[in-house]
Amino acid sequence: MHLVIIGNGIAGVTCAQTLRRLRPEARITLVSAESAHHFSRPALMYLYMGHLRWPDVKPFEDWYWPENRLELVHDQATGLDVAGKRVLLARHPPLAYDALLLATGARTRYYDWPGQHLQGVQGLVTKADVERMSQATQGVRQAVVVGGGLIGVELAEMLRARRLEVTMLVRDQHYWGSVLPPEEAALVDEQLRRHGVRVRYATELAEVLGDAAGRVRAVRTAADEELPCQWLGVATGVVPNLDLTAGTAIETDRGILVDELLQTSVPGIYAAGDCAQRRNPPPGEAAIEPLWYTGRMQGETVAHTIGGQPTPYRRGPWFNSAKFFDLEYQTYGQVPAGPVEGQSSFWWQHPSAPLGLRLHYRTGGEQALLGLNALGLRLRHEVCDAWLRAGAPLRTVLEQLGAANFDPEFFPQHEASIVAAYSRQHPDEPPLTLRRRKGLLARMLS
């Protein structure tokens, strides 16, 4: 069997690795135009800031691929011959396949702003993007970043590392308004301020203004304000790469449409990762999940199906993490940005340090846990996952909170004050007793 994978991102690579394990005899070819070897896209920022070099962001050394008989083709796939089961390549002869995985990822989303094609306007998704950004921001004094999401803060951090003046334009009333509740957003806002980022909330980009040489010189906001800048970072999300499917029988919407098995409308052709859109995602799950983790899980799942063990994609409780300058963020399960009927939230925040924890739960009954947000605290994934799968009652979670503590040794433990804060807010409930201190440390002599 010959599996051809377009895209050597996390989805494509995980599929290749998994299939190699399941089907040692299979021939597996990874095609990618972007880079000869797989790299960590979330690590691009560290290249710009000089924390890491290119070899450091490659998850595997170069010997890994031939040793595991994963063939790499560094080339652009220019078209698909679906009937003939062939992939057309720009610089190589066509590749025949028995199964095809489209893991083509995503690219920066632009909103057709006037002037968006000016020099110095760009997003950050690819290796080429970060290289261009490195060049284009040299000698620049003022930069604007549009978009208040994860990549927006990363861009701000990168630019601040090179000491540019940075203004962020955020459409919502607070940072990442579609995802974070206001308390969490306030802690992120404090980080942005502390690191010298100017943030304009409730502000939208209307137009990019250029100079005579075709370079960006300012942006105009929807409120008709002009902000001078010599570089503009676009961080308003990503859109799936659909070039390859154009003109084929493969159905697409915003992304490449796939069923539960991650198969497209053409049998034998699959899609996973940022480019895939599920036709019928379960309630509460997004059709497109543009994340590293979901890319990895989709890649693994689809490899089972391709290898002859049809496996529907079930990713289990949601999780994600990020870092906003110095503030670490982890989330597990579902924590909505605003109030939802029938659900409640308990938020604890340290009186002085940037630390916060939210427990989100179903109101009434057992008060089953629905999700957790942690800022500045590390939580143990396994424990949170088990609680969420079991729908653990809030009171149990509070009493066992120590089991989820993943902070390093000697870090102050806040479980007691978290539980005390809960009891203060709910004086009519019976008192809580903190059962477990920290996880493994408590079992030190067990």
């Binding site: 924390h51 998850p59 595991n68 590293w292 143990r380």
Partner: protein, 449 residues
């Protein structure tokens, strides 16, 4: 030329921003301090002491002031321009520093007479502490301790957001100052053997060689205590402590070599070679050194038991030869002199028999592991980058596997630097120690072989 590739990769980030005026001011003090020390080394006797102490004063003030300027601001690991600044990415400054350090070791070992002008100003201090005049080893020990303290101050500032790093840094500073500098001096003053309570066989191999034991035993009760201490530390305390805490209790909390690496070597930790090739060299060299010491110790005791019939005067010659190659060249010249080029733990990784012994215990008889947090790793590579022992930490993290490696000294930097909070140094039950996370399905493709 795959070997050179790792040394030539250019980072993306350039040019580096100019240091601020305040930073320059403090760095100028450091430079003036070095200049004054240079003057002291060459000056006539009259100027010597003043220049020496002025030099040390300026150097210390400059180093601490600069650290405070640089790291006193926002809290958190900030490695901006680490790989593009010449001083930390094997640029001209790094090579110059490496040559200067190596040169110092060469002069120290082979031509100490040239250090006379730096040794004499320490006579007063040496009389006070040790009741005798200074020699080149007192100079070396004093400089070494000062480096641990000053750069320890820097590390305390840089990592002050992490209680683990604060406690650990304070610990190496304490052990260097107290047990590797003050106490041996005091022992000398009391006409006792200059004994280092923080170094044990097989690192301080001669402490358990027949010759070493005999000479200690000539010192009455205290000598006997020292021999007993050495035996207990090597064969009882080391296995027990390593069982509970991993090799970190020694390598990154107590040991002086480790202490210097964790403080003065901290700016260079990322330079360690992470490639599989380097790991192959590591295991083939370091276990050979350990095996050599074990066999030699056994032979020497056999020889002693047979009244010297077996080896004759081999013992003395061995001590000299091994001491020269391993003690001077490996540990000193390459180990420390090459910090700015090869990273801070070259000796610990490739040459130290104690590290090899502790590593075997850690790998096979310990409760220590670095846990990875479920499926949260993004393969960014920050953990591998900061690992001074050259462990490619992300190989484990991205598969959800715990990190159980003989080499790991438990410095905790991978955990401190990880932007997703994935890594945690833990001591726990040995059952299931190797159990990978259920939330990520580790592929079975092998990495190290």
């Amino acid at each position: 030329m795959s070997f050179l590739a790792a040394y030539s990769d250019q980072p993306l980030a350039h040019p580096t921003p100019e240091p601020s005026a305040a930073e320059r001011l403090w760095l100028a003090l450091v430079a003036l301090g070095l200049l004054a020390l240079g003057v002291a080394a060459l000056a006539p006797a009259g100027l010597r002491d003043t220049a020496f102490w002025l030099g040390l004063g300026l150097l210390s003030a400059g180093a601490l002031g600069w650290s405070w300027r640089k790291f006193g601001g926002s809290r958190g690991v900030r490695h901006n321009f680490l790989w593009s600044r010449a001083s930390t990415s094997r640029g001209a400054v790094a090579w110059a520093a490496g040559v200067a350090l190596t040169g110092f070791y060469v002069v120290l070992y082979w031509w100490p007479a040239y250090l006379e002008n730096l040794i004499r100003p320490l006579d007063g201090l040496s009389q006070l502490l040790r009741g005798r005049a200074a020699d080149q080893w007192f100079l070396y020990g004093s400089f070494y301790t000062l480096a641990v303290l000053l750069m320890g101050g820097r590390a305390l500032l840089k990592y002050r957001h992490s209680p683990y790093q604060r406690v650990r840094t304070a610990s190496v500073m304490f052990f260097q100052l107290g047990l590797a500098w003050l106490l041996p001096g005091v022992l000398l003053a009391l006409q006792q053997p200059e004994f280092y309570f923080t170094y044990f066989w097989p690192l301080k191999y001669d402490y358990l060689f027949p010759g070493g034991v005999q000479s200690l035993l000539q010192n009455g009760h205290l000598g006997a205590f020292m021999v007993g201490w050495g035996i207990i530390m090597s064969f009882v305390a080391t296995p027990v402590l390593t069982y509970f805490f991993g090799k970190r209790w020694y390598c990154s909390w107590v040991c002086g070599c480790g202490g210097l690496a964790e403080t003065a070597g901290d700016p260079y930790r990322h330079l360690s070679d992470k490639r599989r090739e380097a790991w192959r060299y590591e295991v083939s060299i370091v276990y050979t050194v350990l095996g050599f010491i074990v066999v030699t110790t056994a032979l020497l005791w056999l020889n002693a038991a047979r009244g010297g019939a077996l080896l004759g005067r081999f013992s003395d010659e061995f001590a000299q030869t091994y001491g020269f190659f391993i003690g001077s060249i490996f540990a000193g010249v390459v180990g420390v002199g090459f910090y700015p080029i090869l990273g801070s733990r070259v000796w610990c990784r490739y040459g130290c028999p104690m590290a090899a012994y502790l590593g075997l215990l850690q790998k096979h008889f310990s409760r220590f592991r670095i846990t990875t947090n479920g499926g949260q790793c993004i393969s960014c590579g920050n953990c591998s980058n900061v690992c001074e022992m050259g462990i490619d930490v992300k190989q484990y993290a991205q598969r959800g596997e715990p990190i159980i490696r003989a080499a790991c000294v438990g410095c905790g930097l991978c955990s401190t630097a990880c932007p997703r909070g994935v890594l945690n140094l833990e001591n726990g039950p040995r059952e299931g120690r190797y159990q990978p996370s259920q939330l990520i399905h580790a592929d079975s493709l092998r990495i190290l072989s």
